[in-house]
């Protein structure tokens, strides 16, 4: 059964008068890893803000798991957001809380979890991202890669149906980046989580992504849409070739 989890139709993304993207349409299917790629400043993070409901569309439609992000009221969107996990570019951990408290934050919603089980659940999440034992550390005591992984543990706290990532591997060394690939792939296979990943990491795209859209800042929109393999063999557009056929380091 192929089911569209996210449907975007003719979306225009803008900050006030300043239009960043226009006429963007794509669909994300359940259980797939969907990559949004493009050079920096082309509007990837902006598109992500629209998908997770931090910004509301004025032109075009976004439907995420059946909820229309343009017309739904704040309450609905808020309840709906519990089905998402978002990993922000720098982790988005709350600095004044330990990792355990950070991860417990979304779990607060569920009433009456016995404390021992909460501790075990936190430990289980942390061990999924290879941070078992770091419960009582503060984010400032971790490296960038560890913070991203901890952010991922928090994003996964409620076993979301959709996980959004903003540049999960940017600024990480290749070894840590590979750990993140494995993690993404394990979670995707184990829990059938749909994943939307903003990235310009070619290795991630070719290893993991099922479908890719390439954004371009001059076009203010999508210039290529397909599987990684299709885009790698795409020859009609120089810009697409430049992006996908550059040598991986």
């Amino acid at each position: 059964m192929v089911e569209e989890v996210i449907v975007v139709e003719n979306l225009q993304a803008a900050y006030g008068e300043n239009v960043i993207l226009s006429d963007v349409s794509f669909q994300v299917k359940r259980g797939e890893i969907f990559a949004i790629v493009g050079g920096s400043g082309c509007g990837k993070s902006t598109l992500l803000k629209y998908l997770i409901g931090l910004m509301r569309p004025h032109v075009g439609r976004i439907i995420v798991e059946g909820v229309d992000m343009a017309t739904a009221d704040d309450e609905t969107i808020n309840a709906h957001r519990k089905r998402f996990g978002v990993l922000f570019q720098s982790g988005g951990l709350i600095g004044s809380m330990t990792l355990a408290e950070n991860i417990a934050l979304p779990l607060k919603e569920v009433k009456k979890i016995p404390p021992f089980f909460l501790a075990q659940l936190i430990r289980a999440k942390l061990s999924m991202v290879n941070l078992a034992g770091y419960e009582n550390h503060y984010p400032a005591e971790l490296s960038g890669g560890m913070r991203k992984r901890a952010g991922l543990a928090r994003a996964m706290a409620l076993d979301p149906a959709i996980l959004f990532f903003d540049e999960p591997t940017a600024g990480l060394d290749p070894v840590t980046a590979r750990e993140i690939y494995d993690l993404i792939s394990t979670i995707n296979k184990g829990m059938e989580t749909t994943m939307v990943i903003v990235t310009h990491d070619l290795e991630l795209i070719f290893r993991l992504a099922h479908e890719v859209i390439l954004l371009h800042s001059e076009e203010k929109g999508i210039i290529a849409y397909g599987t990684p393999k299709q885009l790698a063999e795409f020859e009609a557009d120089r810009r697409v070739m430049n992006f996908f056929q550059r040598k991986s380091p």
Binding site: G95, S96, T98, L107, V110, K111, K112, I113, P114, F117, Q120, L121, R123, A124, K125, L126, S127, M128, A132, G133, Y134, E135, N136, H137, Y138, P139, A140, M156, L158, D159, T186, I187, K189, G190, M191, E192
Partner: protein, 371 residues
């Protein structure tokens, strides 16, 4: 709310069906606890054939059954686990579950320990402030000798923020203080028929003490805190490290312009505050006490000498250096994240107000012996 799972016990078998998800986990744990408590045989079969789905909390709850059974020397046999459940169960690393955390959370310390810590902290604080003063003593002459190394644009911006932008609030508060003082003192002096002394009383109090002090406290709250926050945030964002690696001296680059700007602007603000304070007294004098404008002003200036104004401006200058110095110093002390910036801001205001009052007391003693 209906439960997503169903559980049925038949002698040594438990049949599970439906979906075991996080919201149902607490009640599931309770139920399972009850079942295990009653059991007195040595084996348990758990049949998961009809269990369609678990999430990670559900999977963890299943591993919890195994754990609990082991404690009661029960042997658990799993039957009919489907692939979806198995995949999620495999995500859970059982060995990791029971290891202790790497750090323990700091325990609460006893009163004596806390007092000792506080003393050490204050001593250390004193030491770092002295070090900072030392650095300033080196940096300020350097900047004065090399005026081109100063960032004049930044000084002007800081003068605007600390000075011009504070004009409304300083003016308003001084005016109100003058009004209040004149009003309160007139209640007493009127009984003695000494209305006319309201003028010199307000004049002396405003010029000698309240003008410089009020201005300094307002500037500490407005600008001292913002210096600490600005520099602290720059430290958190590694901007200060970036400046250092580009060969800039962070104190010269960030602190000196603020200190110079503040020490120019605070004496001016103080003069301005004095004017408004006297104006406040004047309003009460004219409206409430029927003193004429000229008499009031003449009386005011009889109590106040030029020397008083000069020493007050000197005081204001000292306060300015304290405010800006402490603000920047607290900013540079930031280690860690956003929370530390908040602490630095608070500490900048508290420390500088304390030092302002201490310095004011020192001036009072000094001026007493000088004059």
């Amino acid at each position: 709310m209906t439960k997503g799972y169903r559980m049925e016990q038949k002698a040594d078998r438990i049949l599970m069906a439906g979906e075991l998800l996080l919201p149902d986990v607490p009640s599931f744990l309770e139920e399972i606890e009850g079942i295990l408590k009653q059991k007195n045989s040595t084996s348990l079969e758990i049949n998961l054939t009809d269990l369609k789905k678990v999430d990670s909390a559900g999977a963890l709850a299943l591993t919890h059954i195994e754990e609990e059974s082991r404690k009661r020397s029960l042997v658990v046999a799993w039957k009919g686990m489907n692939d979806d459940v198995r995949k999620v169960l495999n995500l859970i690393d059982r060995q990791a579950l029971n290891l202790p955390p790497l750090h323990e959370i700091e325990k609460r310390v006893s009163f004596f320990e806390a007092t000792g810590d506080l003393c050490v902290k204050i001593a250390h604080d004193f030491y770092t402030i002295l070090t900072f003063v030392g650095e300033l003593l080196v940096s300020i002459p350097y900047c004065l000798l090399h005026p081109r190394s100063l960032r004049w644009g930044d000084i002007l911006v800081n003068m605007r923020r600390t000075g011009a932008d504070a004009l409304p609030i300083v003016g308003l508060l001084s005016l109100l203080i003058g009004l209040i003082m004149a009003f309160m003192s007139s209640l007493q002096l009127r009984q003695l028929g000494a209305n006319i002394y309201v003028a010199s009383l307000v004049g002396i109090a405003i010029v000698k003490e309240l003008g410089p002090m009020m201005t300094a406290i307002i500037v500490a709250g407005r600008s001292g805190s913002s210096f600490a926050a600005e520099i602290g945030t720059m430290i958190v964002n590694e901007e200060v490290d970036a400046l250092t690696t580009m060969g800039f001296h962070p104190i010269r680059f960030l602190a000196i312009p603020k200190i110079i700007a503040t020490s120019i602007v605070v004496p001016l603000l103080t003069l301005y505050a004095m004017m408004f304070g006297i104006l406040g007294g004047l309003i009460v004098g004219i409206i409430g006490l029927d003193i004429t404008l000229t008499t009031y002003l003449k009386e005011s200036f009889r109590g106040v000498e030029l020397w008083d104004v000069i020493t007050s401006l000197l005081k204001a200058f000292t306060f300015a250096i304290l405010i800006a110095g402490i603000g920047c110093h607290r900013g540079f002390q930031v280690v860690g994240g956003a929370e530390a910036v908040g602490e630095a801001t608070t500490s900048a205001v508290v420390t500088s107000i304390f030092l302002i009052i201490a310095a004011d007391a020192a001036y009072a003693v000094l001026l007493h012996y000088l004059g």
